[in-house]
Symmetry: C2
Subunit: 564 residues, 2 copies
Amino acid sequence: MMPAPRRISGVEASTMSDSKTSPRLLTTTTVRGVESPSPFPSSTRVYVEKDGLRVPFRSIALQGEPPICVYDTIGPVGHSLQDGLPRLRAPWIDERIAAKHPRPTQLFYAREGTITPEMKFVALRENVTEEHVRSEIALGRAIIPANIRHPELEPMIIGRNFLVKINANIGNSAVSSSIDEEVEKLQWAVRWGADTIMDLSTGKDIKATREWILRNSPVPVGTVPIYECLERVKGKVEHLSIDLFLETLEEQAEQGVDYFTIHAGVLLRYVPLTAKRVTGIVSRGGAIMAKWCLAHHKENFLYEHFDRICKLLAKYDVSFSLGDGLRPGCIADANDAAQFGELETLGELTTVAWAHDCQVMVEGPGHVPMNKIKENMDKQLAICHEAPFYTLGPLVTDIAPGYDHITSAIGAAMIGWFGTAMLCYVTPKEHLGLPNRDDVKAGVIAYKIAAHAADLAKGHPGAQERDNALSRARFTFRWKDQFALALDPETATAYHDETLPADAAKDAHFCSMCGPHFCSMKTSQDVRDFAASTSEATSAEIEIGLRQKAEEFRERGGEIYSAE
Amino acid sequence: MMPAPRRISGVEASTMSDSKTSPRLLTTTTVRGVESPSPFPSSTRVYVEKDGLRVPFRSIALQGEPPICVYDTIGPVGHSLQDGLPRLRAPWIDERIAAKHPRPTQLFYAREGTITPEMKFVALRENVTEEHVRSEIALGRAIIPANIRHPELEPMIIGRNFLVKINANIGNSAVSSSIDEEVEKLQWAVRWGADTIMDLSTGKDIKATREWILRNSPVPVGTVPIYECLERVKGKVEHLSIDLFLETLEEQAEQGVDYFTIHAGVLLRYVPLTAKRVTGIVSRGGAIMAKWCLAHHKENFLYEHFDRICKLLAKYDVSFSLGDGLRPGCIADANDAAQFGELETLGELTTVAWAHDCQVMVEGPGHVPMNKIKENMDKQLAICHEAPFYTLGPLVTDIAPGYDHITSAIGAAMIGWFGTAMLCYVTPKEHLGLPNRDDVKAGVIAYKIAAHAADLAKGHPGAQERDNALSRARFTFRWKDQFALALDPETATAYHDETLPADAAKDAHFCSMCGPHFCSMKTSQDVRDFAASTSEATSAEIEIGLRQKAEEFRERGGEIYSAE
């Protein structure tokens, strides 16, 4: 089931297990400069320093064993919203501008063999070699979305031979929410582990909202620029044009947006293929472009003028996120001709963008039953030349509105395992309303689970360290260590305290599920002590050893279930 | 990815798609005897009647299309707890007792070619032929857990060529909860769709709690009898014996328990294999038996006296649920020698139980990373001769205590697709505390999602009808129909109302996510109207048609985004 190494153009693609990586568990000696506490219990934000770079991690102190370091998306803390975050990348960018490279994109540098500070940063962050990072970018298999106008960014990489990433969508609409709320959602999303965020605002103050978000975002920010274009033509789709689009793109690129979703694959000839679908076109961008195509009976202007778009994006190193405007909106429409037709076009556009040294990822569905998920991944890799896949879920059933973070986490975990590089979260409010703070958290946690499950299934080096540490804590009843290692320590602690609230219970060698008499963990420890000395022995020796130990066990009372 | 039809002993196993089934969507003409409203909105409990049998369904009335009937686990409503439920099966059982069959088990009847009322009932319930039911039971591939002392039961079937089922665990412990709470949890669990429940009580009043549960349970009830045995010897594992065990079994069988988890596969020689595990033995039953084996240095008495246990279970038609006492309790321990060693023994015991005409299912893990899940299913089918698999999750990561309904729903959906017949739910409190009412609901809903996703992926006939109906309602903005078709209408409605509370919004042709200007569904309808007439045409005709339609579209104003 693990996707086999793929051969593309006669080259053996690297996989997680054969890349030059070592376990992510960092020793304390490599960590420098402990900063102020992180918002998580027993945690501090620490930095790994090398070549003048300071790469953040969260160090979780444990009671029973050495601290464990985990990937940290929170960004620098303690700055005012007004000031924005420190401009970490400013000197790197300034130096490159001074050198007057023809195209300041990470793909350009990777191809010419240059390892940028951004590449070094992500190499330390992922605990892989700089050359692995450069090579994956040069091959188009990974991107570092990092607009030269977004210096506040802590660089991260999106590619299937790295940790699986997650995106959280925020943004207001005509009927709900304010700028403050959106910036708060950004900070809340990265606190829980969002690797990128997309600002999908469609209401008033689009530009100002985006500015506040960008200046305070330590993670890449994506947008769907056609939304702002549509606001500018007051909702009249027919009035959209390439000139308006490029003007809007340039403004957003100037602000520092790191990647743009562009629905250039919605071609006129694909639109009739959606007519018999159960839910037609569910992508907003896709619907807008389909409507424009029909109204003018012309080919999608984003496709027709894709070269001009590439030139603009290359100037700022804005990455493409090629939008899947015809993604299926329900189980019945999955993997149909419209969806896969558009995918062919996205593959063609990937090649065009690469010719301009633009970084590219490709968006994917949507709603897909489990038996049809792998086909999506396999086709995308083949058709889009291994450009990173970035999927929304997919949701594996339509019947659970209110729980679509779960219906989609199932599909997301699977497609992440199959090779999707970034998973776009879905919140419990999907299909029903705009997510609030609680929904953003629920969506991010569900997707951290899916992404981490995918990392485990892919055998990402070191991914299992956190599972093992938590399981060791569980086995030895180090409750506080369990909570500290949990994705959501607050919730784990609160759930535990509901039945056994006393502080003493946190040191108890049993829990409320079984009570002291039925504790399998306690029995296990006994079995372990009992059998450990014989486990390396031969069968005959085990036989003798167990007999002796049975005697000993009975002699010392044969009772380990004291009620304490 | 869909498991191919398996050949066992030269016989082609039936699969969902080649069984004689028709879509589950029932026409109103086949429905008789509408009863009082179900607790769900727009729903009534209805019965399909045939040969004197009355098989329950929930009929969901829709505004825009005919009603849809779905599987209903709630049981008869309106009875007092004191009286218990009506004794539906009493006449069937009495008739068989009068006929003095040697062994009153469904497997016995199936093998001799008799189709029992229980088989007829499940055939109607699953919309498959009676012969399909009989044949699957005769081959050991499915069971109808139905103790002859539990006449209140509405029969259901567990097997991979039927709908995937889910189990909810309830039960008190020494430190928490009361009888009232447990009966309420039973009713709450079946309300949300639990197909069976297990009473895992270990505290006081075990027997009385079980009696209240059985007399009020319309679904099969399972137990782990070793828990009660351990209470009887006051927690002193060494004092357990086969006589005490059989005595306890007989009492529970007399009460009407439908299936027993029995950890007869925990053999002495497997115990040392757990010593180097990260979390040792996590099954309470497994730990108890391992401790007994070590204390006495004897083979597990459940294994040694398995024949006697079979004889007792056959007398009441209590089904075996062969416990996986050595299941992995963390990612690191998955698929190890201890786990698969025990599985070999469970395969051996399956054959023994079948020789006594006992119905058997086999329990499975636990904690398993995604890449190791399929091996579990494949081995179980091969080793246990296709006896139904009944798994706990599996959880695909250890790092999310508080969210293990999600970590495990991912694994459950996958293993259900691969062929697991019943999924044991996990609640958000797993590893932390005993589930309360909210946790039971969260666990059941997550598992309904997993089971339904598996039914879709397996291509179960008719499973997609509900998804399609909900998606049609979504596309045409029939909000009330969407809510009525949802697994949890209350939550879906509440989430919708948070942003657009007005009743009028339930008829609105847009929603809070996009607002009226950005509604892709509205655009889609336009595209559909626009392109429908050309979708069957040739490319040339489409070309002409689209040109014409572009003209028409502009003529009529080209604006469908009126703000309403």
